[in-house]
């Protein structure tokens, strides 16, 4: 227990406390304000009440926007997961002409063409197709943006599924369809689940694309409505915003807890993103 050791320990804990405060303080509000009778922007111990919850549900668009989020997100997530799984499996198993080039281009695309960099042409395209305000169209745009990365990550998982399983199944006379549904999918399930959660969280939080493409407030998801709620000329409705933010955040937090409990939030091997 030398003095140097003591100083270092104290320094360590001071540093950790500062970091802890830095990350925790902004989030405290999300825990207290929803249940505070007089919510403000600052942190304070709440006068406990549940009246904000009913105020939030009385707002004409809160519930419908959460439903919209769910619709948008479900379409985008399912399309991404199914199409990426099919493509990743075929790319992993079948020797196709130009496959390596295709994979290289996919990886390149997934990082180069972001929603931000392509917002103008995407907006113009949807405008000319008459798909502004179409939830299905917006979901497809979101899915298109997620697909390259999803295919790439899933191909890694598919490559790790032992081929001998499929070969044995075929020896016993299984058709390619049976091999897929009874052998490959069950074995690749962790990968498919990962992509599902990843796509869901991404689509759920996506603000820019629905903000660009869904102009009608009745079709906007929670991400866009929340922005509208606090951008109303400085008169942010503090009875509605906190509860609504909390409700909107819950699915992501639940998924995160599920993933970290089940798989652990770690990178295994290379970078997955």
């Amino acid at each position: 227990m030398s003095p140097v050791w003591m100083v270092r320990r104290i320094g360590f804990y001071v540093l950790i406390t500062v970091v802890l405060a830095f990350f925790a303080v902004p989030m405290l509000w999300l825990a207290s304000a929803p249940f505070d009778a007089k919510p403000g922007l600052g942190p304070r111990w709440p006068d406990w009440t549940l009246s904000n919850v009913s105020a939030t549900f009385d707002h004409p668009f809160t519930l419908s926007s959460l439903v919209n989020s769910l619709i948008l997100c479900s379409i985008a997530t399912v399309v991404t997961t199914v199409l990426a799984a099919l493509a990743a499996y075929a790319l992993s198993r079948v020797r196709m002409p130009g496959r390596d080039l295709l994979l290289y281009l996919l990886l390149l695309l997934s990082s180069v063409v972001t929603g931000t960099a392509a917002m103008v042409p995407i907006f113009v395209m949807m405008l000319q197709l008459g798909l502004i305000n179409s939830q299905f169209g917006t979901a497809l745009v979101i899915a298109g943006g997620m697909l390259p990365a999803a295919i790439f990550i899933l191909k890694d998982f598919m490559d790790a599924v032992p081929r001998s399983y499929e070969e044995s199944a075929r020896v016993f006379g299984a058709s390619p369809r049976q091999v897929l549904s009874h052998v490959v999918l069950p074995v690749a399930r962790p990968g498919v689940a990962t992509i599902f959660v990843w796509a869901f969280v991404n689509a759920w939080g996506n603000f820019l694309l629905p903000f660009l493409l869904l102009r009608d407030v009745g079709r906007q998801p929670a991400a866009v409505l929340l922005r509208t709620l606090y951008d109303e000329g400085g008169s942010a409705n503090l009875r509605v915003i906190p509860v609504f933010s909390l409700l909107y955040s819950i699915p992501v937090v639940v998924l995160y807890l599920f993933v970290s409990k089940r798989y652990g939030f770690r990178f295994h091997g290379g970078v997955k993103s």
Partner: protein, 296 residues
């Protein structure tokens, strides 16, 4: 790549034709919603296309005029400069340093502390962008904002008086999780015997990081820096916090593009600016892919 030899052995008996049918739907979607828009940017960027007015119906090709105008436009140069500052301070320096620092400090911390901190850092990464933007708007607001109360100057409106600094600190908070995760897994690959040797010869923490750890994780540092720079340069969240204001002082490139295109209606001009962002992304991505290949 241990299975290079049997790669491409069609173990499910799909055949090339069915394989292509499996890949096609994904490629169609990517083609329509990603490749086509990217290429179309090139075309819109050389026209005077506008959202409304005569140039909306009949856009005219103006060649490289948009690019030339942009280069001489103080709003554009200002925005490029701010984007560079944003990437440099919040990602290259901020997220990198804090992410590594956390990974390094927490590797020997007690599991409970470690889980708490990692949980909070991850939460700030996965919460929806509009929610965290409002949380920070509240922290940085005047009169009752937490920061003003903590520092004893509640009259300061941080987002108005220090918009760029606020955005940078916000983005460090928002994005550090990725660097932390990446460095945690990178540090696991440093041989413990070498760390032990460094400790025995009395190397300080800094010397150990520089001489023992860094040579092992150099590739990871580069990968991490490239990825977080790319994401930060393309991040639209600054729009939610400051909308580029006050008076363009926090107008990073994504915000400028949005305001020019959707608020100003200058679709052609905004496309020319997007082109520059795409080009920047392409350069970073090519360097990144080169690195990946060399390692594989």
């Amino acid at each position: 790549m241990a299975n290079r030899l049997d790669e491409g052995i069609d173990s499910a008996g799909l055949g090339v034709r069915r394989g292509l049918a499996f890949v096609a739907p994904a490629l169609v979607l990517i083609g329509v919603f990603l490749v086509f828009p990217a290429l179309w940017t090139l075309y819109i960027g050389i026209t005077n296309y506008q959202l409304t007015g005569p140039a909306a119906a009949n856009p005219r090709v103006v060649g490289l005029d948009n690019v030339l105008t942009a280069v001489h436009d103080p709003l554009f140069t200002n925005s490029v400069w701010l984007t560079a500052l944003f990437v440099l301070f919040s990602a290259v320096i901020g997220q990198n340093a804090l992410g590594f620092g956390l990974a390094w400090l927490l590797r020997s911390a007690n599991p409970w502390l470690r889980r708490t901190i990692e949980g909070l850092v991850l939460l700030s990464w996965i919460l929806p962008g509009t929610v965290v933007a409002f949380l920070w708007f509240a922290v940085l607001s005047r009169d009752t904002g937490t920061l003003g109360l903590l520092l004893g100057s509640p009259e300061t409106s941080w987002l108005v008086e220090y918009p760029m600094t606020s955005l940078i600190i916000f983005n460090v908070w928002r994005g550090t999780a990725f660097s932390m995760l990446l460095y945690t897994s990178a540090l696991a690959a440093v041989p413990p015997s070498q760390l032990e040797t460094a400790r025995l010869v009395g190397a300080s923490g800094w010397q150990t990081v520089r001489d023992v750890v860094f040579p092992h994780i150099r590739g990871h540092v580069l990968t991490n820096t490239l990825l977080i720079s790319l994401w930060t340069a393309n991040d639209f969240t600054p729009f939610l916090l400051t909308s580029g204001g006050p008076n363009h002082r926090s107008e990073v490139l994504p915000v400028l593009i949005y305001r020019q295109a959707l608020e100003g209606g200058e679709l052609g001009y905004a496309s020319a600016m997007s082109l520059l962002l795409l080009l920047g992304n392409l350069v970073i991505a090519l360097v990144y892919l080169r690195l990946l290949r060399r390692r594989a």
